[in-house]
């Protein structure tokens, strides 16, 4: 299966990845070979029952969404990872 340069560019946009021309050409080539290989799963005949794909042994687990009081040090550690900050808030580029 082949894939066009335009398709690669579209996927990169959807994935929020900036790619240069060299990368686009490389991924175009590699995608064709990987998708060609993956396509063999189309040969497998699957019934509607299989499509459900749900394992009956799996049961949903839930827990109460509790807030645990953190140490001020933990809060600082988490906030310190943000590249742009103002006081205790993370700065984001203007959206509106």
């Amino acid at each position: 299966m082949s894939i066009t340069k335009e398709e690669i560019k579209k996927i990169a946009q959807l994935a929020r990845l900036e790619l240069n021309d060299v990368e686009i050409a490389k991924y175009q080539k590699q995608f064709s070979s990987i998708l060609g290989y993956i396509d063999q799963i189309k040969d497998v005949r699957i019934s509607d029952l299989d499509i459900l794909g749900l394992n009956s042994e799996i049961v949903n687990q839930t827990r109460v969404d509790e807030v645990f009081p953190g140490e001020p040090e933990d809060k600082k550690l988490a906030l310190d990872q943000a590249p742009e900050r103002e006081a205790d808030q993370i700065k984001v580029g203007r959206v509106i």
């Binding site: 929020r16 991924y27 063999q40 497998v44 699957i46 550690l77 993370i90 580029g93 203007r94 959206v95």
Partner: protein
């Protein structure tokens, strides 16, 4: 006393009998890391100060009469697992300066047990790969041959154990990332059942198959570490409530009359001749120990890599969406920009375009494609259905046999750079390994031979949550052979 080749079990005795202190042990490994790491690029970071402090605390506990199995034992941790206050890069430029704000559950448990963290090991970026060449920082060398890869993605952890830079290590396995490098480096590496070990604090890659597991010199050591890190965790609701066994308690049990399945198709001509011979010899060892060898077939296994090539990138594209460079991670300066909505998108594009390496981008793109409108049914939905078929294969097999044996890898470690431009070839490294991952089954790789002075492994697969039997079988092999005692000259 050659500490670098000793097992947890052997070092425990030294510590208990006061032949050595944890601090002396820690100093030994720190010195060895200093000497060997520049040549092999195994550790991305080393924590001398905190390691000494942890060792001193362990020594106090030992003096007070405490005797935990991991108390005072120095270890290495894959750098995609979080330790509060320490760097966690995942081998990515995206997280080059990231400091973890909390401990992974496994780290918490090891801290309580008194194990001493020496350093964090190299990996393929975000655990994407089978050679550790995808790390943004350095290529780890295989200690057996410095021109070859250690395998991956837990290549730093497996190389670290065989090079004697730590007594044991933790890795993570999503589709073979503990077992394949364990085979290339000649160590024992266990991928526990999905849900046996909490994933809290492990950077998510493929949440439906990610598992943390032990890497050590013997299956018995893997059992000791697994007992410590396994168990249900409120912070990972996919962790299992099943009782954690004392995995080393019955490890010596005889294996007579066990039924072991062998898939003949897996021992075909794709296998290097030396490896085929070694695997057949290993199978005969189990036979001599009284096990019954039964031919089985896994007809859907041939689809496991293609299925993995859809499910994994799909989950990766979603899990790696969190890296936007705004809350954490690689970021270009944007305070001076950002006047309009277009610019926010530009920030995302640039941060992610610069921060991720080639393989991470490839997987994000493949996943985005497989999940995109118009392709979702043909790829993702179909892959999930075929995954059920692969699971069924194993289920059927385990009605006839207790365990399944396969080669871990079709060959020994390849040369650095040899297949970096062929992603498909890289994905096929895990041809025997992705099946158990997709089915959530426990599997271990143990060394069973050397081909041209390079180690190779045998994979043993067990039914869900049958780690106790799996480790018992692997231990029986190691009690009767010497392969696990080999180590490279460094």
């Amino acid at each position: 006393m050659k500490l670098e080749i000793m097992t947890i079990k052997e070092i425990q005795v030294l510590l208990r009998n006061k032949k050595i202190t944890s601090l002396e042990l820690t100093e030994f490994f720190l010195k060895r890391i200093k000497k060997i790491n520049p040549k092999l690029n195994i550790c991305l970071s080393v924590f001398e100060k905190s390691a000494r402090r942890e060792a001193q605390l362990a020594d106090i506990r030992i003096t007070k009469g405490e005797s935990g199995e991991l108390l005072g034992i120095p270890y290495l941790l894959k750098d995609n697992i979080l330790v509060k206050g320490l760097k966690a890069t995942a081998g990515s430029k995206m997280l080059e300066n990231y400091i973890a704000p909390y401990d992974a559950t496994v780290v918490q448990k090891l801290k309580q047990a008194g194990a001493v963290l020496l350093g964090k090991t190299n990996l393929d970026e975000f655990a994407h790969g089978a050679s550790t060449e995808n790390s943004a920082f350095s290529v780890t060398k295989n200690p057996w041959d410095l021109e070859r890869v250690p395998g991956g993605s837990s290549g730093g952890s497996t190389a670290g154990v065989i090079a004697g830079l730590g007594v044991f290590a933790l890795g993570s396995d999503t589709g073979g990332s503990i077992r394949q490098p364990a085979s290339f480096c000649g160590v024992s590496g266990l991928k526990p059942s999905y849900g046996r070990v909490s994933r809290y604090g492990l950077m998510a890659m493929t949440s439906s198959t990610d598992v943390i597991g032990p890497i050590a010199k013997t299956a018995e050591d893997c059992a000791i570490v697994l007992k410590c890190i396994a168990g249900q965790d409120n912070f990972d609701l996919t962790s299992s409530a099943k009782k954690v066994s004392d995995y080393s308690k019955n490890i010596d049990k005889k294996i007579k009359n066990l039924k072991i399945g062998v898939v003949r198709e897996f021992l075909g001509d794709d296998l290097a001749p030396d490896i085929k011979k070694g695997i057949l010899e290993a199978i005969s060892v189990f036979e001599k120990l009284g096990a019954q060898i039964v031919d089985i077939s896994l007809p859907f296994n041939k689809y496991s890599v293609p299925v993995y090539c859809i499910i994994t990138p799909s989950e990766v594209s979603s899990n790696l969406a969190r890296f936007d460079g705004i809350r954490y991670g690689h970021s270009l300066k944007y305070s001076s920009k950002g006047k309009s909505a277009e610019n926010l998108n530009e920030i995302y594009l640039r941060n992610r375009g610069e921060g991720f390496g080639a393989e991470a981008k490839r997987r994000i793109m493949l996943g985005t494609y497989a999940l995109s409108s118009g392709y979702f049914s043909a790829y993702y939905k179909k892959a999930v259905a075929v995954k059920e078929k692969i699971k069924e294969d194993f289920k059927k097999a385990f009605t006839k046999v207790d365990f399944i044996l396969t080669p871990t890898s079709p060959h020994t470690a390849f040369k650095i750079g040899q297949q970096v431009d062929d992603p498909l070839k890289m994905y096929l490294e895990d041809v025997f390994l992705t099946g158990p991952s997709l089915a959530g089954l426990p599997a271990i790789s143990i060394p069973v031979g050397l081909a041209k002075n390079l180690p190779f492994g045998l994979q043993i697969i067990a039914d869900n949550f049958m780690e106790e039997g799996l480790l018992n079988l692997a231990h029986n092999f190691q009690k009767n052979t010497e392969w696990h005692k080999n180590s490279p000259k460094l």
